[in-house]
């Protein structure tokens, strides 16, 4: 029997490759159910989350917020202005309703409004309020802001799987990131818990640009 090194190497290579490919295919298919591994992509580019600012922007700012969270709303006008000034920022407002039923309803209605192109309008109307809200107040504010809340609710229900999935994902991400509450910002790849004033926000943006 003559076994040459070539035979051995070829055999080993074949076996190794087959093992790797077979394993990858086998386990890869088992993975379809989605291991809960989260990547930064999942956080920065959730396809279901509406995007404000410049959707093609180079830098992404994520804010986990609640429609009843006072400091989220207090800083929102400034945040929007800075995002507009900078020009190339994608702003992802991630609904993380932590203040109970009115917050959940608010998120549902605003996301529902997204189906008819009214996301930004609805979002801004609620973010302009300054107090805690009741469910009736949520409807009232949205109605005053030109949103048909019945239609928005129907639209939300029609795509319930998508929106509930998004909300659940946001909550899970917040937990995985160790966020304690709202607001919490992710700018570039850094987490900033709590409200940011304009100075700190601009510094955070500058740092993110330096880092990238």
């Amino acid at each position: 029997m003559s076994i040459t090194r070539r035979d051995m190497l070829a055999g080993a290579a074949g076996a190794g490759l087959a093992g790797i490919l077979g394993g990858a295919v086998l386990w890869g298919s088992g993975r379809g159910t989605g291991t809960a591994e989260m990547t930064i992509e999942d956080v920065l580019h959730d396809p279901d989350n509406p995007v404000l600012g410049n959707p093609k922007g180079a830098l992404t700012i994520v804010e986990y917020f609640d429609y009843q969270c006072p400091y989220c709303k207090m800083g929102h006008a400034m945040l929007t202005r800075v995002v507009g000034d900078e020009g190339d920022i994608r702003l992802l407002m991630k609904d993380w309703p932590i203040f109970g039923a009115p917050s959940v309803l608010a998120s549902q209605l605003v996301l529902g409004a997204a189906s008819t192109g009214g996301y930004e309008q609805a979002h801004e109307a609620l973010m302009a309020t300054d107090a805690k809200l009741t469910e009736d107040q949520v409807r009232q504010v949205l109605g005053d802001g030109g949103i048909d809340t019945d239609a928005a609710l129907a639209a939300y229900r029609a795509e319930r799987g998508k929106w509930d999935g998004l909300l659940a994902r946001n909550g899970r991400q917040a937990a995985e990131l160790g966020l304690q509450g709202t607001p919490a910002f992710i700018i570039g790849e850094r987490i900033y818990p709590g409200a940011l004033d304009e100075t700190r926000l601009r510094r955070a943006i500058a740092e993110a640009r330096r880092a990238s």
Binding site: M1, S2, I3, T4, R5, R6, L9, A12, A13, G16, L17, G19, I20, G22, G23, A24, L26, W27, G28, R31, T33, G34, T35, A36, E37, M38, T39, I40, C69, P70, Y71, M74, W96, P97, I98, F99, G100, S103, V104, A131, K132, A168, G171, A174, A175, E176, L177, G178, L179, Q180, G181, T182, P183, A184, E189, R190, I191, P193, G194, A195
Partner: protein, 594 residues
């Protein structure tokens, strides 16, 4: 080494978020103290940090799905329009709760002034007011996400098993890893250098030496370096591909690489290599191939040949080093970062190849000249390769069979060393040394053979079956074994009130065997586990159930140890993944023990 990597990453993660003033942890911002009044009323006192406040309307208590009346003092009516019409408490608030006689869950929520509004907080109290989560709060300086999942939104931080996982895995680690990619890569380079001195990499030395020898007398140092460099780069590239596969396939690549099939193939390859070392046949690059490489494109052809050789060598070595690599692959799989995975394993391959570069640079000059000495060295390598093959096969073969194989190897080696030869009076000193060593090996081999016949499992205690049951059993921690989520729930339920250790393991998990023989057999660990419900989650059969279980636990694969306190919340920073020692295990147990 790997532990160092992880801790370095953690330092980095800490830095990333600590670079600025942090809001307090919610349990520090709102510290709860519970006492019992004489009439059985529970007195609940929250000490509120300066600059923080609690919402009066957010306080609630419930038991068994029923909400309980909570008597609260009047709060501060705030002028600030942002707070709405509600009331808040600053500094301190005391609430009273009538004796419930059953476990009660308390809820509260508050904010840091001008900072952050916390997700709802909650805690479970025993019927007599003992805070069930106290352990967790005391032992976990980090935030326990117990309270995060806003029930309305259905955002599930808890798992279907009702467990609460510490959130110190996952994305933050990924972020840190990206920030600290250079560190990771440097670490893997060093790790590779260490691996270069394991038997896994030994087969490469004769391959490289053969490649250089094929160049004949024209070999210069530069040429040798170029050839070896090409070889090493190609090998590292193959490892890089392994890294990509690991990152891409999730945790499961190492499962494939450690399957009985893969282990069998590698063991056979090592036996073949060993036989060639013994001179049964010569492993040489076939002449035809050598000629073609030399003729077709001169130097460039040879470089290509070297690269081909390097790439294929990695395929031999790759699966061999996955045992020590299990932790690294798990880590890569967890980050899911393909670039990092590729770069890290490329660095690992490079590290393994560095010693080979020395051969290339100095040429065959530093290799021992052929002769008696070289023959001896080759035989020694052969024995090492055979031993390695048995060690590998031992992962999948029954204990007694492994012992029998060791017996055969030891006895065979002993005979070749001359243990059974008669020494003449004028025998040389070396010969006598060899014979003495041979006799020792012969004795060890006979012991192993005897052990095999007795059905012993442990190489180091072949006669354990004779010594009675007491010794080995005493030092083995007792685990309840489960394979399904229901099993886990039952096991946890039957140990309610006790902290629990979940140990994710599998038959094919090589590192797990090392853990079981090492830290888990340590009497100190055994003692520490006395008050802990130890549950073994066996995912040997990697079906949907096992995958679901792993997903629930956010575990990438075995070995993973998860430490739950009595309230079934994972202690912050306690999780152990991959290889571990007794100290790490004891530290983690300490985080959940009362």
């Amino acid at each position: 080494m790997f532990a160092f990597l992880i801790s370095a990453l953690w330092l980095l993660a800490g830095f990333l978020t600590a670079a600025q003033a942090q809001p307090l942890q919610p349990e520090d911002a709102f510290a709860l103290r519970v006492s019992e009044a004489e009439d059985g009323t529970l007195v609940l006192n929250w000490r509120i940090a300066e600059g923080y406040y609690l919402y009066r309307s957010s306080f609630a208590a419930d038991a068994g799905g029923q909400s309980l009346p909570l008597s609260l003092p009047e709060g501060e009516n705030h002028e600030d329009p942002y707070f709405g019409e509600g009331q808040i408490y600053r500094q301190d608030v005391t609430a009273k709760l009538a004796h419930a006689g059953q476990p009660v869950t308390l809820h509260w929520q508050g904010c840091q002034q001008d900072g952050i509004c916390y997700a709802p907080q909650s805690v479970r109290l025993d019927g007599d007011g003992t805070v069930l989560a106290d352990d967790a709060v005391a032992s976990a300086p980090g935030w326990s996400p117990r309270a995060t999942s806003s029930r309305e939104a259905g955002a599930a931080a808890g798992t279907p098993s009702g467990l609460v996982l510490a959130q110190d895995q996952g994305l933050v680690q990924g972020l840190a890893a990206r920030g600290g990619g250079v560190l990771v890569i440097a670490g893997f380079l060093g790790f590779g250098l260490l691996l270069a001195f394991t038997p896994c990499v030994f087969p490469m030395f004769p391959i490289v030496a053969g490649m250089l020898a094929g160049q004949g007398k024209t070999l210069t140092a530069r040429r040798g370096l170029a050839l070896t460099g090409a070889y090493v780069l190609a090998m590292a590239a193959a490892f890089g591909l392994l890294g990509i596969a690991a990152a891409w396939s999730g945790a499961n690549l190492q499962m494939a690489l450690q399957s009985p099939m893969a282990i069998g193939v590698i063991a056979v390859i090592f036996v073949a290599l060993a036989l060639s070392m013994f001179g049964f046949y010569e492993l040489q690059m076939p002449l035809a191939l050598q000629n073609r490489l030399g003729r077709v494109a001169g130097r460039r052809g040879s470089l290509g040949g070297a690269m081909l050789l390097g790439f294929t060598s990695a395929l031999i070595v790759g699966p061999c080093v996955t045992a020590p690599l299990a932790g690294a692959l798990l880590y890569i799989a967890q980050t899911g970062d393909v670039m990092l995975g590729a770069a890290a394993l490329f660095a690992l391959g490079l590290g393994q190849g560095l010693p080979l570069l020395a051969i290339g640079a100095f040429g065959p000059r530093i290799l021992p000249r052929s002769g008696r000495w070289m023959e001896g060295a080759k035989r020694a390598f052969g024995v090492i390769f055979l031993g390695f093959a048995i060690w590998l096969a031992g992962r999948v073969l029954p204990g007694p069979v492994t012992l029998a194989l060791w017996a055969a190897l030891l006895v065979g080696t002993a005979v070749f060393l001359g243990a059974l030869d008669r020494l003449e009076g004028d025998a040389s000193r070396n010969r006598r040394f060899g014979a003495a060593l041979g006799v020792l090996l012969l004795f060890a081999g006979l012991m192993q053979g005897l052990g095999a016949a007795l059905g012993a499992q442990d190489l180091l205690r072949p006669l354990a079956p004779l010594a009675g049951r007491a010794a080995p059993l005493q030092t083995q921690a007792q685990f309840a074994e489960v394979t399904t989520r229901e099993g886990l729930d039952q096991a946890l339920a039957s140990a309610s009130g006790e902290p629990a250790l979940l140990y994710l393991t599998a038959d094919w998990c090589v590192t797990c065997r090392a853990i079981e023989r090492g830290p888990l057999a340590d009497p100190a660990v055994h003692a520490a586990l006395a008050d802990v419900a130890a549950i073994k989650l066996d995912v040997s059969t990697f079906n949907a159930e096992a995958q679901g279980l792993m997903q629930d636990l956010a575990a990438a694969g075995p070995p993973t140890m998860i430490f739950l306190d009595a309230a079934r919340a994972e202690a912050q920073g306690s999780r152990l993944v991959g290889k571990m020692d007794s100290a790490a295990l004891l530290a983690s147990i300490g985080k959940i023990a009362r």
